[in-house]
């Protein structure tokens, strides 16, 4: 992202902040355990968990900050927070 004078931004510009770089722990999804309830997608503060046509939930690691809310709330305990290897 090139700097805008005075840190000015058009709508949607926050997409340029690749918040995935903040992550220390990474949510790893176990699709075998997943009950497809969609809680993770609802609760994700970054809004970065997407749902496919056959209800497979996947986080976008470009933006996932690794906050761990999805893992905490998952009723099926299908999400594990694993230390990032960088």
């Amino acid at each position: 992202m090139a700097l805008a004078v005075g840190c000015r931004a058009r709508p949607g510009k926050a997409r340029d902040n690749k918040t995935g770089s903040w992550r220390v722990f990474k949510p790893v999804f176990d699709h075998e355990k997943c009950s497809q309830c969609g809680t993770c997608k609802t609760i994700c503060p970054e809004g970065c968990i997407s749902e496919s046509a056959d209800a497979v939930f996947t986080p976008d690691y470009t933006y996932c900050k690794g906050c761990g809310l999805c893992a905490q709330e998952c009723p099926a305990e299908a999400i594990e927070m694993k230390q990032e290897e960088k």
Binding site: V5, G6, C7, R8, N17
Partner: protein, 384 residues
């Protein structure tokens, strides 16, 4: 044809001629006369502007920030505690790159409470990213408002400016001031048309969040824009001189500098007293000169080093003190002359309205000649 007029009223008239669209200010001595006069002009239909009455200086500058974001030419004025209350907003206005122009009628900061003059208020905001102009007399104080708007609104600058003039010493003094004609001002200062402004039909946000990946680059860009504004000041000053005959193109000004052995460095109204003292010292055969700093931010480091290259010693007169360290101007002058071998002596004087007379300037020259740094000059030792 010059008119004999109070400094504050002369400044108010110049501001009117600059056609600000939004004025937000809160009265505070010794700045009040300026905004009172402007409020009257708006009420009498002599100035087509929105005058926003606010409950504090914090709100005053916040209103200016918003109005500037919406694309208006904005104005405020304050001093001392009022400026201190604006501290946070000052950094935001500058960081969001809004060309707000604000007059500072320089006054001491409390405690202890003092309504009298020194330059501690604006100096304390030297790191806020605003341009800072200092006027020697009321003609200069008046003219610097045209220069400030012109420079600040330049698309390559887009920064706010303080136009500082000494409270009471200038603000409440009657001096002959030549005012410009509206038609000429309009030629020098065209309508403010920012490329980006708040507009519901074309949404934009200002001063957004910057993560550690970007913050430093924003600070670098801000610093660069401020330093690069030197060229724009020079250009605007030259054009002003061509149109009106008074030249403010240089960030510094010399008085008997050429063969001076002792050079005094000062800002603001003290320069007038210093020039008179120099005339008398010159008549006695003393080779003394003055280097006046008109623009403190961006600081004219290279210009100053060049201008002082021939001096045997430099004595800096500071109407402020960075408590626990030294006078702010002396520190910058020392930085500019680092490695030159020219000794720089700093003197703190005139704080909280203490008079500075010709004899004081002469005494300081004598002290500097003896190589004595008297950091506080003229202390009443009997009360200490």
């Amino acid at each position: 044809m010059p008119e004999l007029i109070e400094g504050s009223l002369a400044v108010a008239e110049a501001v009117r001629l600059c056609r600000p669209q939004v004025i937000a200010a809160y009265p505070i001595t010794p700045q009040t006369h300026i905004v009172e006069a402007l409020a009257e002009m708006v009420a009498n239909g002599k100035l087509d502007a929105d005058y926003i009455t606010v409950e504090s200086e914090f709100s005053a500058l916040s209103a200016c920030l918003g109005a500037s974001a919406a694309g208006s030419r904005t104005y405020s004025a304050t001093t001392s505690q009022g400026l201190a209350l604006m501290f946070e907003v000052c950094f935001n206005v500058a960081g969001m790159r809004f060309p707000v122009v604000m007059t500072i009628a320089n006054r001491a900061l409390g405690a202890p409470l003092s309504i009298w003059n020194d330059q501690q208020d604006s100096i304390s905001l030297r790191d806020s990213g605003w341009l800072q102009f200092y006027a020697e007399d009321n003609q200069e104080a008046t003219d610097l408002h045209y220069i400030a708007y012109r420079v600040c609104e330049d698309p390559s600058v887009l920064l706010p400016a303080f136009v500082c003039f000494d409270g009471f010493i200038l603000s409440h003094t009657y001096e002959p001031v030549e005012q410009l004609a509206q038609v000429d001002v309009d030629k020098f200062l065209p309508k403010f048309t920012p490329k980006e402004r708040l507009d519901a039909a074309d949404p934009i946000s200002f001063g957004m969040f910057a993560s550690p990946d970007y913050y430093m680059e924003f600070r670098y860009a801000h610093d660069k824009a401020l330093k690069d504004s030197k060229a724009i000041i020079e250009k605007a000053g030259k054009e002003f001189a061509k149109l009106f005959g008074r030249d403010y193109s240089a960030l510094i000004e010399g008085y008997h500098l050429k063969d001076a052995e002792t050079v005094l460095v000062a800002m603001g109204s003290i320069c007038g007293t210093t020039k008179d003292a120099i005339d008398e010292m010159r008549a006695e055969g003393k080779k003394v000169g003055l280097l006046k700093i008109r623009v403190f931010r961006p600081f004219p480091t290279e210009e100053l080093a060049k201008a002082l290259a021939g001096a045997k010693r430099v004595a800096v007169l500071d109407k402020n003190i960075s408590l626990g360290s030294k006078g702010a101007v002396a520190l910058e002058v020392k930085d500019a002359l680092y490695g030159s071998g020219i000794p720089v002596y700093g003197y703190i004087l005139g704080l909280g309205g203490r008079d500075v007379r010709k004899k004081d300037i002469k005494e300081i020259v004598t002290l500097a000649e003896k190589g004595q740094i008297d950091q506080f000059y003229g202390l009443r030792k009997e009360v200490l």
